[in-house]
């Protein structure tokens, strides 16, 4: 009888833990959906700078926008940094699956009894867009920067950048064409 009571107590404890974790995850995922569904009218994107953008610390959160023919990142703490759009060589889009909740969630999952944390891990993940930028500095040095965006925002950034780059590229192409024609004459 005592054994049954103890076992049922354990099971109820485990269920409570799992319930709390699932609630937490659901909240996080709901927040993320709100972020995805937010209108993309303004070209400011809330992103995480993973690494590479000069003058910004790794894993800094901030706003990425295109202003005055430059890609500008304004971290939540610190001064903004920008790169002229003409200096951007390439942009790649990727996708990454990450666990949500950070360290508190990880600790909670580790503390959950009977491997309950592993079950939660199955559901507590989210897909992000990864944008990789390649650009040159004023000395011609090659830089690479990686940003993490909410799913669906990567293509938005790419299309905005392409729209900004097109006129410049056209001018450059025409100049090259003219030079080629002059040389052939």
């Amino acid at each position: 009888m005592i054994h049954r009571i103890v076992a049922s107590k354990h099971i109820s404890l485990m269920l409570i833990c799992l319930l709390l974790l699932v609630c937490y995850c659901t909240g996080l995922i709901a927040q993320d959906h709100d972020a995805i569904n937010a209108p993309a009218a303004s070209s400011t994107l809330h992103v995480t700078h993973i690494l590479g953008f000069e003058g910004v610390s790794n894993n800094a959160n901030g706003d990425l926008s295109i202003q005055d023919r430059a890609l500008r990142f304004k971290p939540h703490e610190g001064s903004p940094v920008q790169v002229p759009i003409g200096a951007i060589q390439d942009l790649f889009l990727g996708e990454q699956d990450k666990q949500v909740g950070g360290k508190p969630m990880m600790l909670a999952k580790t503390a959950a009894p009977y491997g309950g944390g592993r079950v939660v891990s199955l559901f507590a993940h989210k897909k992000y867009d990864i944008v990789t930028l390649e650009y040159l500095d004023s000395n011609g040095g090659f830089h690479g920067a990686i940003f993490q965006l909410n799913q669906g925002q990567g293509p938005v950034l790419r299309s905005e950048l392409e729209a900004e780059r097109t006129p410049g590229n056209r001018v450059a192409d025409e100049a090259t064409k003219r030079n080629t024609e002059e040389t052939s004459k």
Binding site: F92, D97, Q99, L136, G141, F142, I146
Partner: protein, 179 residues
């Protein structure tokens, strides 16, 4: 008798101080005179025949720049294409080619612990501008347990910097004095 004791104890103390200070100064002199004369240019990471995500290539490159700078072996660390490195006399070039890449999964790591690791293996080559190879080694970097998949690139860069540190750089050619 008393004065003799005083003299001997002072002498002993002086000898101990000299012994404690001298080796570190000598070592510092050796390190300071040879290693910092080299500069290094980190080239872009080549993917070779391996299908690797551009984010990983860029992350390896940026982490290499950080880790090589941290070694304090080089006078200057240049990026690929930096015009500042063009006319520099004592320049080493670090080339990295990816040889193997196994994409990992953070979720699989969280659920199973044992699987889902990101694995990277590169061929790292440090050579002079003239093509003389100073270091050539296969180096691996894995991302197990905690953190995102890109953590493997940090571990890899750390291992490359460690290999450079262990290799011991050759003495650079003496610079020619301007007339």
């Amino acid at each position: 008798m008393k004065s003799n004791r005083n003299v001997s104890s002072t002498g002993l103390a002086a000898a101990l101080m000299i012994q404690a200070v001298l080796p570190s100064q000598v070592l510092a002199g050796v390190k300071g005179s040879v290693s910092p004369q080299w500069s290094v240019q980190v080239n872009k990471v080549e993917s070779g025949t391996v299908n690797i995500e551009p984010a990983f290539q860029v992350a390896i490159y940026e982490n290499l720049l950080d880790e090589v700078t941290k070694t304090k072996l080089f006078k200057q660390v240049f990026r690929d294409g930096d015009r500042g490195a063009n006319d520099l006399p004592n320049l080493l070039i670090l080339k990295t080619t990816v040889e193997a890449y196994t994409p990992g999964s953070e979720t699989r790591r969280a659920v199973t612990t044992v699987s889902g690791a990101t694995k990277l293996k590169v061929q790292s080559q440090l050579s002079t501008r003239e093509g003389k190879i100073v270091l050539q080694r296969e180096i691996a970097g894995d991302g197990h347990f905690f953190g995102g998949n890109l953590r493997a690139t940090h571990n890899l860069a750390h291992n490359v910097a460690g290999a450079i540190k262990q290799s011991g750089l050759p003495e650079p050619a003496p610079s020619v004095a301007e007339p």
